[in-house]
């Protein structure tokens, strides 16, 4: 059985008195130990979809199943990393990681041990008592990753986690996430990342799901068969082949959409 099943999810909302169709009949599933990436143009509803999976928003119709049970709200089994980090500015790095543990009812000393351990894992040993205000963007996202992982989720959702970082920092953090993913013993089994960076998606994911412009639909899926670790294949045709395939799909989706709008 799949870990996550997205079944015919549709989302519409009203903004400034006009109805917006964000998602249209989206279905796919994620198997155990899979790293899946959703790519699509801006405004195709991929972030909305991620929020529906996280239980932060409700689908207008359709449902999301987690181990066969419908998701009705946020659960500690599914955690998330935000594009703008979402750290609480009034809490230190350590306290930020502690927060979700506190909600789970863990005692203080245990919380501190777990939080310290996770900050160390993301390379922030020594920054426990620093406030987000004084951390760089990359360090903030490290705190975000530590916080998401501290509650030991089964699924990790990532909403464009590297797109507000400079390329060098983004590269380091991609490696960090991949190294955590490779360590199958303790940490999340499944990763679902939203991105608009095709090269990043092909580099990281087992499978890339391509979405169309608004209303977001799934228009294709590419299984990335580049052997891991992929760093050594980054200059090779096999890598670029997959990148081109995804880009072609995205362009086709864009053109179809333009033609449709033109006819209208």
């Amino acid at each position: 059985m799949s870990v996550l099943e997205i079944e015919k999810v549709t989302k519409t909302f009203v903004e400034d008195h006009t109805t917006v169709h964000a998602l249209d009949n989206v279905s796919f599933s994620i198997e155990k130990d899979e790293f899946v990436c959703l790519v699509g143009p801006s405004g195709c509803g991929k972030s909305t979809l991620l929020r529906i999976i996280a239980g932060l928003e409700k689908a207008s119709s359709g449902r999301v199943l987690f181990h066969g049970k419908p998701i009705t709200g946020p659960t500690p089994n599914i955690s998330m990393i935000f594009q703008l980090f979402g750290l609480l500015p009034w809490k230190t790095a350590l306290e930020n990681v502690e927060v979700p543990l506190e909600v789970l009812g863990k005692p203080k000393d245990e919380r501190v041990v777990i939080a310290k351990e996770h900050l160390k894992m993301v390379g922030l040993k020594g920054f426990e008592n620093t406030y987000p205000h004084d951390l760089s963007g990359g360090m903030k996202q490290r705190v975000g990753i530590a916080r998401a992982l501290a509650i030991k989720p089964e699924v990790l959702l990532m909403d464009e986690p590297f797109s507000s970082l400079d390329e060098l920092t983004a590269k380091t953090l991609r490696e960090l996430v991949l190294s955590i993913w490779r360590n199958r013993e303790t940490l999340p089994d499944d990763y679902l990342m939203v991105s608009h960076n095709v090269e990043e998606a092909v580099y990281m994911a087992d499978r890339v799901i391509v979405m169309s412009p608004r209303p977001g639909r799934v228009i294709g899926e590419v299984k990335i068969e580049v052997p891991r670790p992929r760093t050594q294949h980054l200059r090779e045709p096999i890598y670029f082949g997959f990148v081109d395939e995804v880009v072609a799909m995205l362009e086709k989706g864009n053109n179809d959409c333009a033609i449709k709008n033109h006819d209208r």
Partner: protein, 562 residues
Amino acid sequence: MMLGEGASGLRRYLMSVAAGLAILFVMCWIIENFVGYPEIKSLPLHAFSTVSRITLTLLISIAWGVPFGILAATNKTASMVITPIIDLLQSIPILGYFPLAIGFLFALGPIGIELSVIVLLFTSMAWAIFFGVVGAVRGIPTNVVEASRSFGFTGWKYTRHVVLPAIMPALISGANLAWSDGWFFMIAAEYIQYKGDIVAPPSGGLGYLLARASYFYKDMNLAAILLVFVTSIVIIINSLTWHKLMERTKLGMFRPISLDLSGVGKLQVARMTGWVHFTRFHWPTSFSLVTQRLRKYSRLEKALALIIVVSAIILILYSEMEHFPTLRMIRDGLANPPGGELVQLPVLITLTMGRLAIAYGISLAVAILLGVMAAEHKRMASVIYPIYDVGQGVPILALFPVMYLGLSNALGAPRLALEITCVTMLVLDMIWYMFINITSAVKTIPPDMKEVGQLFGFKGLKRITHLIIPSILPAIVTGSILSWGTGWNTIIFSEYLPSTEPTIQPVSVPGIGSLLDKAGYEYGNTVVLVAILGVISTIVLLMEALIWRRLLKKFERYHVEV
């Protein structure tokens, strides 16, 4: 025209103007026919004169605030001179200067009186516009400034294409605040107590009528009816002008601030004032050289030196007082009543600060409660926000005498009644600043932050203590600064109820505000008046330096960067 939707929009707009006017005329007619007092007979004229007076003052405030604001924001030298002066003027109780500032205008006769009313209104209206403009000009993003420079915009072209559009939203919300302040203070401005007399503008006004109903006739019903009438005027004019303007300016501006009605202005003014206070003021170099040299000495040595210098200056001044006419005048002023009461100053300050602190505590608690409720329940928000819109403009001071009389009859203890009335007036004045700051902060909590809370399961109290309260703390501080500022203004009115008949003694509670009133209204003692103003200004500035500045700095990191 306002809606920009062509002829049908214009027609609809004109119809709503006509409907608004019709409602007001019907109200006028009803009030005129059912109220017996002679002054009420020309109610529409009174209304017209107040509306045009506030409008005229608003235009003057804009004409003064825009160029000076732009100058203070763009020119370093100008900013060094203008900003501290305006800052100081804004933070000390302007109302206290009334008797000082207008004495000489009264000499000009009826026109002088009309002028002084406008001057008084101006002193309470102009600041919001000035600080709004300064903030907006400074907030123009660097990339926009650089881009326009690279296209060769300079001087007037730059002002017209970049600066003016950029300040529009701030100007509109600042003008709206000024407008509300004008309505709030009109009762003080149109009913001036000067050396034991009551001076009213020859063309009348709603503030005059209200004050007359309340202070002279002491007629609760009449005051309430007039207050309802004034509130209706405020609501109708707001919905016909400000609401439309704000809707229109929402679009196409570079400022990342949402221009909600219940909004922005005060928060922005507050941030701005905070910023202006704390980072813009540079000591001149010669002064910093002196301080550098002073640093070599220990604290005790410095304190001793300071005491010696100050006492030497005082001794010299005192011994020279006989020889200089101004100094003699000062000594005489201090010798005359109520100069003797200056001895009790520490007690009076404590009493007044106590009242302000109680009123502040109540305002803070209520504002946080309402703000959090507005954040947690959308339906509550739709009830709470409009209250602010109307509430802050209602001249609540009008209720002062009637509330006092009612309470003192009910309780049988006049002193207690005046204390309660005083604190109530303070709360009703201070709460809006807390309220506007907190509600607009609650509204602007980034959705990211809320999602994080949801994702990790914050609920109920935890959500409030971990998420909502910390994210509004900076706004609470800026709101506190503003509400204490306005509180000092109101204390001057609320500790002292003047008498309208010569046989009756005015009533007052002991405090620094009532002492100021006695000095100004009863004795006309300018020296004592200035001395008290100096004391109040010192307290205000000290509180800013010792409390607010530190808190602001501490909470700086709470600002969520997006």
